[in-house]
Amino acid sequence: MAGGVLPPPSNRGGTGWGPLRVPLLIPTWVMIGIFLLLPVLLMAVYSFLTKEFRGGVIWDFTLAAYDQFFFDRGLFGDEPPVIEWTYISIFWRSIWQAGVATLACLLVGFPTAWFIATRAPAQRTVWLFLITIPYWVNLLIRTVSLKFLIRDNGPLNEALIGLGLLDHPLPLVNTNLAVQLGLFYSYLPFMVLPIYAAVERYNFALSEAASDLYAGRWTILREIVLPMVRPGIVAGCILVFVPSLGAFLAPDLLGGAKTYMIGSLIDEQFKGSQGNWPFGAAIAVILMTMVLMVLMAQARAALKGERK
């Protein structure tokens, strides 16, 4: 396949700025260095240090934190290592919870984005504004409010019982469902906005052309619309999945011991004297590695798609 007929729309090689190019780039590099590379590097280094008992670290390089994550060596650390399932299962549960939340966001977010993008331009602004209004309130307060809404004697259960749909309140708090609901509620706009941007750019003449060529509604959605708005869907899924994976507010407030997620686990390692900084750093490094692997796989798939 002869790719690249159109030249890439970039000004590679710094054309136009001449000798100013390097000085102008310095602020960018300083920002990236201080706020991105340095913290990540710090975290990676800390994950290889030895823990101090009242929080903090001793500058003694060791793999202990990673060893603690993956292996169980008994109470005194002198037994032959077996795989430690505790943390892996917390990871697995986090992936599951984040996955369910992402799917729910997609199922609700896509029709919502579609609805907004197909309104008259003036109305779209109003709808987008309405979508963002809840986000003016702090996430903590919104999550606590959600808990009040869904608890046993909260408005939701009262209403269901009042309508005669239920005899006993539906136990929602401290369940996986509550956590998923919390994640769904927290991150829904991050799904709606990128999909909206993609649908807004979609050329609806393509749908007409497909229906003219004997395609039914579902076929048009599958064969034409979804491939065209795919970048928006992928962006939305990443924007919901990644923060859901590391979230700790929703699982802490809405869930219980059985719904423990990575975010809470990391959070705990940096709190008080029970903390273990190197271990917390190691979990964060493992989490980040996983996320990066997913994103790189996605980027490769996207590149392949473009080349086709």
Binding site: A205, E208, A210, S211, L213
Partner: protein, 351 residues
């Protein structure tokens, strides 16, 4: 000859706006039929009603006798060539062309073969594996054409398909379109605002304005025997003179020209009173004596022709077109000339 598309009293409202007022026309089998009119005249709305993208507010649309007005577009055996082509950007040229066949359930091998044949017909076989974004405008246009023709529709609808192309390409595509229509034997309904396009390609033309059909006829009929002022003015160039009708009967009328001369001419309207007379600029000549006199204001050189802008004694502008040959005597600006009309040059119009 049987009727391919029978449009019967179709009405289309958008809120309080009426886009089509009781539009009726019968488009014949194997005809190159053009809907011509200025933007906003309803020609595209009518085309979209036939395709099924718009629902009609009233009336019927029959396709070979079957009412299709309420069918979804995917159940109508007609295909459309869109103004901006609307090619699927994520599919190769071949897949674009094969899409309709795929939707109709034609197997992979057969649809690839048939799509390949269509690409051959539009001279794009070498581009089958390209993506639409890698083609020029003219090539995309031909892919759109091949894609719409591949499922062998009963009627092909073309919505200003040439308007995005440059002049040279547009002229070449006119010939190609006409050839394709003859080769395939498919009825073409072609929408355009370009009268030259309409005149050169069409078997028959429906001139539309403000949601109404003004006249339906062959290119010659519409140009030489326009019914009303709108058609006479929209198709080609013409001089419109307000005249008094003296007598009228049997499609002929006797009128009084400005200046007092009497003239017998063909008439679309034979009610007495003041009406408009259309006189085509190329059907006039300068003579020693004639029913009209004009003062030459300006001579415009057009290459093959000379355009003479004159003014009649009552101040009305009046244009002549003279062939630019060695024998043509060009009057000086400022001089007064007598104007002679060819037989049948004038036609009395409905207002």
């Amino acid at each position: 000859m049987s009727t391919a598309i029978d449009v019967r009293s179709v009405v289309k409202h958008y809120g309080t706006m009426t886009a089509l007022h009781q539009v009726s026309m019968a488009i014949r089998d194997n005809e190159f039929f053009t809907l011509l009119g200025p933007s906003g005249c309803g020609k595209t709305t009518l085309l979209r009603c036939i395709a099924g993208f718009e629902s009609v507010s009233g009336g019927d649309i029959l396709l070979y006798g079957r009412d299709i007005a309420t069918l979804e577009p995917n159940y109508r055996p007609v295909n459309t060539v869109f103004q901006q082509y609307a090619l699927f950007p994520h599919m190769s040229v071949l897949d674009n062309v094969a899409f309709g066949l795929k939707m109709k359930g034609v197997g992979l091998a057969e649809r690839r073969a048939r799509a390949g044949k269509m690409l051959e017909m539009v001279h794009l076989s070498a581009f089958a594996d390209r993506m639409p974004s890698q083609l020029s405008g003219g090539q995309q246009q031909r892919v759109a054409l091949a894609r719409a023709l591949a499922p062998e529709p009963k009627v092909l609808l073309l919505d200003e398909p040439l308007s995005a192309l440059d002049l040279k390409l547009r002229q070449a595509m006119r010939v190609e379109l006409k050839t394709l229509q003859e080769q395939t034997g498919i009825t073409f309904i072609f929408v355009t605002h370009d009268q030259e396009e309409a005149l050169t390609m069409s078997d028959r033309i429906a001139v539309m304005s403000q949601g109404r059909v003004q006249q339906i006829g062959t290119a010659r009929e519409i140009y030489e025997a326009p019914n009303n002022r709108f058609v006479a003015d929209f198709i080609g160039e013409t001089n419109l003179l307000e005249v008094e009708v003296v007598t009228a009967s049997g499609g002929m009328a006797e009128v009084v020209l400005p200046g007092g001369h009497r003239l017998r001419c063909a008439a679309a309207d034979t009610t007495p009173g003041r009406h408009h007379l259309s006189i085509r600029p190329e059907r006039l000549s300068i003579a020693a004596e004639g029913p009209l006199t004009g003062t030459v204001e300006r001579v415009v050189y057009l290459g093959t022709d000379l355009q003479l802008l004159t003014r009649l004694p009552d101040g009305a502008p009046f244009t002549l077109r003279l062939q630019n040959s060695a024998r043509t005597q060009v009057p000086e600006p400022g001089s007064t000339v007598s104007l002679q009309l060819e037989d049948g040059a004038a036609r009395l119009l409905v207002d």
